[in-house]
Symmetry: C2
Subunit: 205 residues, 2 copies
Amino acid sequence: MPQKFVPAIVIARLPLYLRTLGFLAREDKRVTSSQELAERLGLTPAQIRKDLSYFGEFGKQGTGYDIAFLEKQLRQILKIDRVWEVFLVGVGDLGRALAHYRGFQENGFRLIALFDNAPSKIGTSIGAIAIQDVKEMPRVVREKKLQIAILAVPADAAQSVADELVRAGVRAILNYAPVTLNVPPKVKVYSIEPVAGLQGMTYYL
Amino acid sequence: MPQKFVPAIVIARLPLYLRTLGFLAREDKRVTSSQELAERLGLTPAQIRKDLSYFGEFGKQGTGYDIAFLEKQLRQILKIDRVWEVFLVGVGDLGRALAHYRGFQENGFRLIALFDNAPSKIGTSIGAIAIQDVKEMPRVVREKKLQIAILAVPADAAQSVADELVRAGVRAILNYAPVTLNVPPKVKVYSIEPVAGLQGMTYYL
């Protein structure tokens, strides 16, 4: 498939298409349409057709999309047709819940290391994974060639830990700290923003 | 302030401006500029000036923005110059972490009720808050006139619980379930999407 520039907003929607295709497949459907996807996702059919057209021709006029085929294609495009090893920095209440969260594993993201700076936590385990000293993080990241970090440290530590992640070679950060991280353009950040999400909804109440 | 239509994307950025102003204030700054805000937020100064211009004139040419004044204005615009009572449905691992999360309280969202459907959980407490049977939810929501729900139930239950929330009068849902919720236009949904976030980043690796 030729690589052409695809807007970030389009890339961000592909996982939602994939998830919806998964739901449809579990409902024993084999074929879907841009209309059906649009209804499930609160988008327009034209938007969905346009988004998918960046990557090729996946549907046939009049017969719609083969669900299994489109799922497979989207997995390839998003590079999730493989297992990615991820690690977590910051094992507080939230980090602990994330370490137990099955959604990562079920979707091809295998949590393989946990880091914290609290002596009381270092050396203890969650499930089969030991919590290591965050000072070991750069070495582990380089040795295991890890590219994806989950950041769940307090706000005031987040930027300095992010800087260390970037120096260690991390290319993608799932950020749970309530700060906007400054990273070089080659590093992607996806921020989880519950408070900002709530504050953006109260405007409408 | 006259009400005019403001794009949702602009509203979504205001909480990030507010958060950044908070950081600057804690650094003992009194005045900031669109340039400084832009650097912290990875936006352009022009974008920030344009966003704020929907709501009035907050800065003076050459002197920038008074941080305390702009914070106060943004809180009023977002209607977070008050405390909002929120409740949580689904007290699994994630729900438990959310019930302990101080970020909601610190930002004016007071968690006042927890609901679950598991007999083993109903009647137990997290902190000072008892877990109630989810069947009681509609009554409690109506009695206390609650408008904001945090939804942390499993994916396969999320839409039916969301339907109940809407029927009970909820107007805003912070959705942690990995599904796209179908709700009427008057109801706002903000979805927390860690897996979709990861999947959208691997594209670039």
